[in-house]
Amino acid sequence: MIVAKRKPFEEIKGLIKGYNKVLNVGCGTCVAVCLAGGEKEVAVLNAELDMARKLEESPIEVGALTVERQCDREYLEPLDAIVNDYEAILSMACGAGIQFVAERFPQTPVFPAVDTTFIGVNQGVGWYEERCRSCSSCVLGMTGGICPVTMCAKGLYNGPCGGTNKGNCEISKDQPCAWYLIYERLEKQGRLDSIMAFTPASKWENQVPRTVIQPGYEKSKADATP
């Protein structure tokens, strides 16, 4: 899932300074699961904003609406009817959701209330760890299911480097060497030949905005292209 962190309260308050009627839009998918921007987090932030602005003698009206997903047009439709009642929108979705809301309502200022942080896994309640950098050229099949782009400090495709030190990375003794882990796992699986295969450099497609069209769904993009 996409993991986000709520922005510091002072920053959020600063973003909507001068607006007196703001709609806070939560997202019910990834950011709700990682406890950053779902219905409950919207309620907490709105309560904080309400109290802070009253203490400053400049009360604000903050509306709340949490949609299933802000990255999907059909779920943004309910906003159409109410968006004009507000001067600005706060979005607690990931960066993709925030941009999709801003794209739908270009006349309305849209502000982020969270910092989108990574694609990660749930290690425990409220505890998340990064596992994927969405590099567009997955090598997990060759690396025993351990991503060197994410887990290696240098993102090496062909490691380890000279900085590997008894299982740890040279950057910190608390940071395991990804390539050491890869070696150990492949050895257990009897697939060490896999580590010898040379992986060419990534095309680093992630330097430009990417588009994915799943097989069998080419029509929707073709129809939308003038």
Partner: protein
């Protein structure tokens, strides 16, 4: 025991302090309460294993949220005692009341409209 504790305290019963949510505490202050305190079982004695430990984490979170907003975090506290400690319950009630009296009334009270 017929113990006395300050009359301005309103008790809200919950099955376990683990039931107390951040929003319950935050909304109480938002709606003008001068203070809120959560009284849970002794740490290590939770019938649901860690309900009171979770409550403490939430109380601490709310304290930091209030500080962010510009209010005193000490308007929200957590206390622990066993069900057999009536005198301690009364003592904590007095302690919390004195703490709130020292902080003064909730400045948000003037914004609260009652039907």
């Amino acid at each position: 025991m017929r113990l006395e504790y300050p009359k301005n305290i309103k008790i809200i019963r919950v099955p376990c302090t683990g039931k107390v949510d951040v929003m319950h505490l935050l909304r109480s202050i938002q709606k003008g309460a001068d203070g809120v305190y959560v009284v849970g079982c002794l740490e290590g004695n939770c019938h649901y294993n860690e309900g009171n430990l979770r409550a403490r984490e939430r109380v601490n979170h709310v304290r930091s949220l209030l500080e962010e907003v510009g209010l005193e975090g000490d308007r929200v506290r957590m206390y622990n005692l066993s069900s057999g400690e009536g005198p301690t319950f009364a003592a904590y009630a007095r302690e919390m009341t004195e703490n709130i009296l020292a902080l003064g009334p909730n400045p948000l009270k003037k914004w609260v409209t009652r039907p």
